[in-house]
C-alpha cells in the first residue's frame, strides 16, 4: 500500500468540516484543528435563532463525536499559532497542552471575523457582534433582557436578517444604514424598496443615510451630536477574512488569503478555502460557492480531477420572514 499523505485542515466551519467529512467519506485520513469547542454548527442559522428557540439546537450539525465516527481526527479548542513551511508543520496550543503537527498538505479554512471599523475598536464593549456560536450564546440572554429597543448598525444581509428575526421575536428594532438603500450590494433598487416597505409595515424603524459615528454605553452616536439610546446594540457592517496565520507564514495575502484557481496559496502545499480565501481576486463568502470549493478540493486531493476549480453562478436569497428576496 502507498503511504497516505497527511492532510491537515485548520478551521471547522462549513469549509473545513465540510472538506474533512468529504475526505473521510473517501477513506482519506484527515486531521481537523479548530478553536471551536461546541461542535460543527451551521453559521447561516445564527441570524434566525432569536424568534425560534429550537434553532440553537438545530444548528448543531455534527458533534465532535459524530465527526470522529465519520473518520475525522479532531483537535478541538485548539488554536494554530503558526505555520512552519520549511518543516511542513503547524504549531498548536490548547488549554492543556501544545505541540507541533506535521502535514503534507495543509488547508486553511480559517473563515472570517465580523468587521469592526478602526475607530470603533476601542468602543468594542459597547456593542455586540453576531459571527459565531459563542456570540449567539452571549447574545441570547441579552436579547431576553431587552426592555425597550435594539439598535442594529448595518443594513447589509446580516443586519437585515437579524432585524427581521428580532422583529419576529417581538422586539422593537431600529436599524441604521449609511447609504440610501438596504442591502445595496445584493439587491436591485426595486428589491431594496420592497424590503424597506416590508420592514416599515412590520414596524421596524429604518434610518437610511445615517452614518453612525461611534458608541457610548447604551448609546449609538449619530451625526450632528444626536444619539440613540438602546438596550442592546448590534453591529453588522461586514466581514474580515482571517489572514494572520498566512501573513505570518509569508504567504501572499490581499483582503483574503490569495489563492489560485487550484485553490492553492503561494505555497504549493497549502490550500485556502471558504470565507478566508481570495481566489483570483475574488472572495466567495457564502454557502454555495464554498460547497463547490469543498467538493472540488475533495476531488483534487483524492486524485479525481486535475482541472482547476471554476466558479459557477450562485443564486442566493435573504432569510427575511414573510418576504422572498432572491438575486
Amino acid at each position: 500500500m502507498q503511504p497516505q499523505s497527511k492532510i491537515v485542515i485548520i478551521g471547522s466551519g462549513m469549509a473545513g468540516s465540510g472538506l474533512a467529512l468529504e475526505l473521510a467519506a473517501r477513506q482519506i485520513p484527515v486531521t481537523l484543528i479548530t478553536g471551536e469547542t461546541a461542535g460543527y454548527y451551521s453559521r447561516p442559522l445564527l441570524s434566525h435563532a432569536f424568534s425560534d428557540q429550537t434553532t440553537k439546537d438545530r444548528m448543531m450539525l455534527k458533534s465532535w463525536k459524530d465527526m470522529e465516527t465519520a473518520g475525522v481526527t479532531v483537535m478541538t479548542g485548539t488554536r494554530v499559532l503558526s505555520i512552519n513551511r520549511e518543516e511542513k508543520s503547524v504549531l498548536w496550543e490548547s488549554n492543556s497542552s501544545s505541540g507541533e503537527l506535521p502535514y503534507d498538505q495543509l488547508v486553511l479554512a480559517t473563515g472570517s471575523d465580523a468587521l469592526i471599523p478602526g475607530p470603533w475598536k476601542a468602543q468594542k464593549t459597547h456593542f455586540s457582534l453576531l459571527n459565531s456560536y459563542n456570540d449567539l450564546e452571549n447574545l441570547l440572554p441579552k436579547v431576553g433582557e431587552v426592555q425597550n429597543s435594539i439598535a442594529i448598525v448595518g443594513g447589509g444581509l446580516i443586519g437585515c436578517e437579524v432585524a427581521s428575526d428580532l422583529n419576529k421575536a417581538g422586539k422593537k428594532v431600529t436599524l441604521f444604514h449609511g447609504v440610501d438603500r438596504l442591502m445595496e450590494r445584493q439587491l436591485s433598487e426595486s428589491q431594496s424598496a420592497e424590503l424597506l416597505a416590508h420592514f416599515q409595515f412590520l414596524g421596524i424603524d429604518i434610518r437610511l443615510n445615517t452614518m453612525v459615528k461611534g458608541f457610548e454605553p447604551g448609546k449609538v452616536l449619530l451625526p450632528e451630536g444626536d444619539s440613540f439610546s438602546a438596550d442592546l446594540i448590534l453591529v453588522a457592517v461586514g466581514f474580515l477574512p482571517r489572514t494572520e496565520l498566512a501573513k505570518q507564514a509569508g504567504l501572499e495575502t490581499g483582503r483574503g488569503i490569495k489563492a489560485s484557481d487550484f485553490l492553492k496559496t503561494s505555497d504549493d502545499s497549502i490550500f485556502a478555502i471558504g470565507d478566508t480565501a481570495e481566489i483570483n481576486g475574488q472572495i466567495y463568502a457564502f454557502v454555495l460557492p464554498i460547497r463547490s470549493q469543498v467538493k472540488w478540493l475533495t476531488d483534487y486531493l483524492s486524485g479525481k480531477t486535475t482541472e482547476p476549480w471554476t466558479p459557477g453562478v450562485y443564486p442566493a436569497k435573504a432569510k427575511i420572514h414573510g418576504l422572498q428576496l432572491k438575486w
Partner: protein
C-alpha cells in the same frame, strides 16, 4: 414519503408540507423537486440533501 435533510443547515424537507414559499405544493416527493429548487434556509441545491432517518 421520505424526508430529506440539508447537510449544511439541518433543514428538513418534508414532502407532506412541500415548500409553499417556493411554490412547491404539499405532497411533492423530494425527487420530484425541480433541479433549481434550493434549501429555504441556506440556499444549497438538492445535491446537498440526504435521506433523513428520524
Amino acid at each position: 414519503m421520505q424526508k430529506y435533510i440539508c447537510i449544511v443547515c439541518n433543514h428538513i424537507y418534508d414532502p407532506a408540507l412541500g415548500d409553499p414559499d417556493s411554490g412547491i405544493a404539499p405532497g411533492t416527493p423530494f425527487d420530484q423537486l425541480p433541479d433549481d429548487w434550493s434549501c429555504p434556509d441556506c440556499g444549497v441545491t438538492k445535491e446537498d440533501f440526504e435521506l433523513y432517518a428520524g
